[in-house]
Amino acid sequence: MYRYDEVDYRIVRERVEQFRDQTRRFLAGELSEDEFRPLRLMNGLYIQRHAPMFRIAIPYGHLASRQLRRLAHIARTYDKGYGHFTTRQNMQFNWPALERVPDILSELADVEMHSIQTSGNCVRNTTTDAFAGVAADELIDPRPYCEIIRQWSTLHPEFAFLPRKFKIAVSGSVDDRAATLVHDVGLHVVRAADGEIGFKVIVGGGLGRTPIVGEVIREFLPTRHILTYLDAILRVYNRYGRRDNKFKARIKILVKALTPQGFAAKVEDEWLHLKDGAATLRDEDVAHYASFFGAPAYETLSPNPEAFTAKLAEDRAFARWVEQNTRTHRQPGYRSVVLSLKKTGVPPGDITAEQMEAVADWSERFGFGEVRVAHEQNVILPDIKESDLYEVWQLARSQGFATPNIGLLTDIICCPGGDFCSLANARSIPVAEAIQRKFDDLDYLHDLGEIDCNFSGCMNACGHHHIGNIGILGVDKNGEEWYQITLGGSQGNHTAIGKVIGPSFAQADVPLAFEKIMNLYVEQRQDGERFIETVRRIGLEPFKERVYAKHH
């Protein structure tokens, strides 16, 4: 993992002191509400329904065990004993007091953490594949580049006041698990014919009110140029992005207005003057950052040891969990374990202080003290020996982390919704729970197979409902909560935006609509077809007919 040096510490501590002073001046009436709002947002602090909502950056989803313990401590001391993992791999607290936020920041700085640019109209936390560094299909480890981008984006003087928020994702593997096509900028690794590694540059993707798949503006950018090229993109956006209407202020609207070709031409023109400048990465610069992400001290192991295969054979529940909640590893004899934060009855992504400490313990006892946060709001232990899996499974069960539903219908990506968020039109948590209850039969759930179900409580789309195979959007109809269902969305290399199937549903009718959709899928699927494949093959019409039929 990246470790701060003296300078990184100093910058974060100076930021804490700056925010402490800004908070003091606001409370003393020296800063108006209009002046303080953008400043506090840039430090992850929203004023929400119950209290401020405070968002802490987890750069590209990487956490050390000591950092997770500190988050547990913060949850206990400053909040109500739990936190919430977001779809940007960050952590949110819903109940801190404004006056105490500078103290939380100080506690975070001790363990190389901060909340810089977790909100506001600036460059947000850069995200990547939660399996970076351990995935078998990786061309390059994206993490050194994520750290380089993190540092570049941190307090960048030119881009502190953009037209709107700006999100960057990096994928280092062939199979894009970082959703690069639905980010303001996506960098997806490519290998040129001569073997050189670079990035495909995708711009203008995004969800929100205007869901749109990004456009490739450069097929191949040598890795050394990423910072100067990002400067050029951001400058064009900063200067020409719309500022008169916040709903049209994202870069996707500018890319659409200029056309992708027109936008690319402006970027290239700007880049001519930045290219090969001082921000160009030399081999030794990349090597410096890569040195933090070397492989840990793996043991030389044979895959499928007896202790592991014997348990697989004798314990069906364990075998199911291994199949669903672990991932193959590039190192023989190891696997990555996904701890499910999608247990029925618990808001998706929520984790208690006790659970955080348990995960920190396991990561040290069985792994190398490292934990990942997935954008699907689950927690990953990246390096677990197969021979330890049975014990890890039992421990995970004891803490409520072992629901074998990763990638299945009940592994719902979900925003906090109207229970917490003042932007939401509708509650999401109780409806997600009702769906989980409807599909609580594990055999049936496994038979339905891989289904991405994404849920947003409003059109800001924090729950990424557009790219769910089945998506739910909370809408407000004359002050009542209603729910729209979309089908056909997907993430990854075949990213697509889902389509609304018809009129929205009252809260109580959502699980029934889901049941009808799943019944039709089971009837219609052909030899092992996944849900999304059936939807693509037969289209939306049969689903509409089934769901809205008068008789049933």
Binding site: N121, P157, L227, N238, H288, Y289
Partner: protein, 174 residues
């Protein structure tokens, strides 16, 4: 005469910033007075402004194109950029463009919604004088320069980004 911040000091300043009224008309000023005029007004009749007894400078609005000034930069002792609202960040890009792409070397002033929490960023991208917003103390704004002692990026003030300086230090230790 009013006070501004220039190169980290509070100084008195005699430039008059001319802003159009609601009818688009600029205020009358004595011909010997040094004036900062809107770029659009200067573009309309550059020689008329240049022939005044007093000095003339130009201020750019966020949507002005600094490239249009490229051939004239040596004729201005001062250029200014207006920040109608501090959340409008376009002027930061204008600053960097004037300094880095068009190599403007004279005084670069930030006008408008400019105060303590912004001067550090503005200084980094090339501004060296600041007309602080009315109602905000200049002494407070001065504190803003010391907020951060380091930064990661390649900026006009320090073109070598931290990762290069870090790596050089790294090597000298090794």
């Amino acid at each position: 005469m009013r006070s501004i911040i220039k190169d980290g000091q509070v100084v008195t300043d005699s430039w008059a910033v001319l802003r159009p009224d609601e009818n688009g008309k600029l205020p009358e000023v004595a011909p010997e007075r040094d004036v900062i005029v809107p770029f659009s007004a200067w573009k309309a009749e550059p020689s008329a402004w240049q022939n005044r007894a007093g000095q003339v400078a130009v201020w750019l609005a966020p949507d002005d194109e600094p490239g249009e000034l490229a051939g004239h930069l040596t004729s201005f002792p001062l250029l200014a950029v207006d920040f109608p609202a501090f959340t409008d960040g376009r002027g930061y890009s204008i600053g960097r463009l004037l300094r880095e792409r068009y190599h403007y070397r004279g005084e670069l002033r930030a006008l408008g919604d400019v105060w303590q929490d912004l001067v550090h960023y503005l200084w980094q991208v090339g501004f060296n004088s600041f007309e602080i917003k009315e109602g905000k103390a200049l002494e407070d704004a001065l504190k803003g320069f010391g907020t951060f002692s380091e930064r990661y990026h390649s900026t006009w003030r320090e073109p070598e980004p931290l990762f290069r300086r870090r790596n050089t230090n790294h090597k000298s230790v090794a």
